[in-house]
Symmetry: C2
Subunit: 292 residues, 2 copies
C-alpha cells in the first residue's frame, strides 16, 4: 500500500467516478485503474465494485474510506509541519543570555528576528553566565550568549564583542573629567557590586582583590540607579554603558591593565542548530556588527 494508491482510492471513493478522480489526481484512467487494482490486491480484496456505468464502495471500502481520510490528512499535516519548520514559518528557539546582554543588546536582536520571522516562538532565559552554559549543555536551550567560558568541552564559542570593564561614577564625581581611571582610583569610593555568584563580580575581585562593598544588587539596573543617586561607584562590563548613562551613571574607561573578555554565542558542538536557531544566531551576529 502506497500513499499514491491511497490517494487514488480516496479520490475515487469521494467522487464515485474514475473519470472525475483522474482529473483530481492528474492521472490517466488506466494508471488510476491499475493503482486501485494494485491496492486491492495488496489488501486482499475488492474495495470498489465497478459496473461499467457506476462505481460503488464495497463494505471493506466503506471501512477504509474514513481511515484513508485520516491517514492522508495526518500525512499531509506532518509534511506541511516539517516544511514550515524548514522555511521558518513555524518553530521555536530557546536562547539563554547573561543578564547584561539580555538587557542591553538582545531585545533589539529579537525585535529584528521577530520582524523577519513572526511565526517563530522565541524563549529568552535571562540567567547568570554560568547557568547559561549549563542550559546549553543540558539542551534546555539551543543558543547561549556568555562571556567566553574557560571550560568549553562539548561547546562551541564564537565571539560577538570584545568587552572590557568600565567605571561608573555619579555625575557629580570628581573623577568625571578624567579620560580614564585606574582600579586604585575607585578604592576610596563606596563600591556598589553585583551580588555573588556572578562572573562579573568574580572577575573584578580577581583584579582588585577583596572589595569594600557598600551595596550589592543582582541587577545592573539597580546598580546604575544607585550610582546615579551618588551612593557610590561601580565597575560594569562595557556592554552596559548605554544602560548606565540612561540611569544617571557616568562611564569612564579603565586604564591598563584592563580585563578584556569575549562575549559571544555558545552552542553544543557537533550538533546542528534548528533552522530557527540558526536564523536567530545570524540575526544576533548581524546585530552585533551594527553596534560595533
Amino acid at each position: 500500500m502506497t500513499i499514491k494508491q491511497l490517494r487514488a482510492f480516496l479520490a475515487v471513493a469521494q467522487s464515485l467516478s474514475f473519470a472525475q478522480a483522474c482529473e483530481r489526481l492528474h492521472l490517466s484512467q488506466p494508471a488510476l485503474s491499475l493503482a486501485i487494482k494494485t491496492l486491492e490486491e495488496s489488501l486482499g480484496g475488492p474495495l470498489l465494485v465497478r459496473t461499467t456505468r457506476s462505481v460503488a464502495l464495497t463494505p471493506e471500502g466503506e471501512i477504509l474510506l474514513p481511515i484513508a481520510q485520516r491517514l492522508l490528512a495526518d500525512w499531509d499535516n506532518a509534511e506541511e509541519l516539517l516544511r514550515q519548520h524548514f522555511t521558518l514559518q513555524l518553530g521555536r528557539v530557546a536562547i539563554a543570555a547573561m543578564p547584561s546582554f539580555a538587557a542591553n543588546r538582545l531585545p533589539q536582536a529579537i525585535k529584528a528576528f521577530r520582524d523577519r520571522y513572526p511565526k517563530i516562538n522565541v524563549a529568552v532565559h535571562d540567567v547568570i553566565n554560568e547557568q547559561v552554559v549549563d542550559m546549553v549543555r543540558d539542551r534546555r536551550v539551543e543558543l547561549g550568549v556568555v562571556l567566553e567560558p574557560d571550560n568549553l568541552d562539548g561547546l562551541e564559542f564564537a565571539t560577538l564583542y570584545l568587552d572590557r570593564f568600565v567605571a561608573v561614577v555619579p555625575p557629580d564625581s570628581a573623577l568625571i573629567t578624567r579620560p580614564e581611571v585606574s582600579w586604585d582610583d575607585l578604592r576610596d569610593e563606596p563600591f556598589i557590586a553585583l551580588q555573588r555568584p556572578s562572573t562579573v563580580r568574580r572577575l573584578i575581585e580577581a583584579q582588585v582583590g577583596q572589595l569594600a562593598v557598600a551595596f550589592e544588587s543582582h541587577q545592573f539596573t539597580t546598580i546604575g540607579r544607585m550610582v546615579g543617586q551618588g551612593l557610590g561607584v561601580s565597575i560594569v562590563p562595557s556592554i552596559c554603558t548605554q544602560q548606565m548613562r540612561e540611569l544617571g551613571g557616568h562611564c569612564i574607561a579603565m586604564s591598563k591593565p584592563t580585563v578584556e573578555r569575549s562575549i559571544g554565542l555558545i552552542q553544543r558542538s557537533g550538533i546542528k542548530l534548528s533552522a530557527a536557531a540558526q536564523a536567530l544566531a545570524d540575526t544576533i551576529r548581524r546585530s552585533a556588527q551594527q553596534v560595533d
Copy 2:
C-alpha cells in the same frame, strides 16, 4: 515524501546508523542514502547530520521522529485492519431473520460460522418477516432470512427451503393417526394462532378465511406448548416441525391445496456483501442443504 522514505528515516533515526538500518530495511547502503537524501530534499532541509563516523538527528529530525513513528504505526494498523477484514479474522455481520428461522435453523448455522470464524461478531435480529425486509432495505443489516416477499425491488432473494404449512395437534388428538389433514379437519378444534401482524397468520387466513381463534401468541414456542397441553390445534410453517415436536405437539402434513412459499436469503441488490456477510450467507446455504 513516500512511505518507504519515512520508514528509511525511522530506521536510521532509531539505530543512528545507516549500516544497521540497511539490514533492518533489507536495502543496500546507497539505496538508503538516496532515500534519505530524497526525503530531505522533499521536506526542504536536512534531517540527519552525518559525520563519517556517526549519525545524529537535526532538530527538525527530532521533530519528525515521533511524528514518523505515529504515522507509520497508524499506517500499518490500517493496513492490518483491512487485511483482517478480508481474511475474516475480524469483522461484523448483522443479519435479520424471521422468528421461525431465527429460532429453528439459524442457531446451528451461526454455530458453524462462529466455529470457523471466531473473531467475526455476528448480530442477529429476530424480527417479524416484514421488518426483516425493512432492515435490509435500510442497510441496518446486510442479510435477511424471510419468506419470499412480493415486492423485491432493490433486493435479491435466493431460496433456501420450500416451506409448506403443517398442522400441529395434541398428542391425544383423534387426528394423530391421519397421514395428512385438510384445512377443514381443523375447523372444529380450538385454533391457536400467531398474533397479528404476522405473515404466517395472514397466509393462513388467506387460505381458510376468518379463524375461530381460541388463543393467540407472538411466539411459536408458546403455541407449541399450548398444543402440547391439549388446548387446541394450530398450523405452522414446516420449518417449525422439530420445535413443535419438542414442545409436545404432533405435526401432520396438510393435504392439498397446500400453500408453499420459499424461505430464503435477501440482500440489497447491486451492492457487494462484506466478506464476513458473504461467508455467513455461504454457511447458511450449506446449513440449509444439510437439513434438507
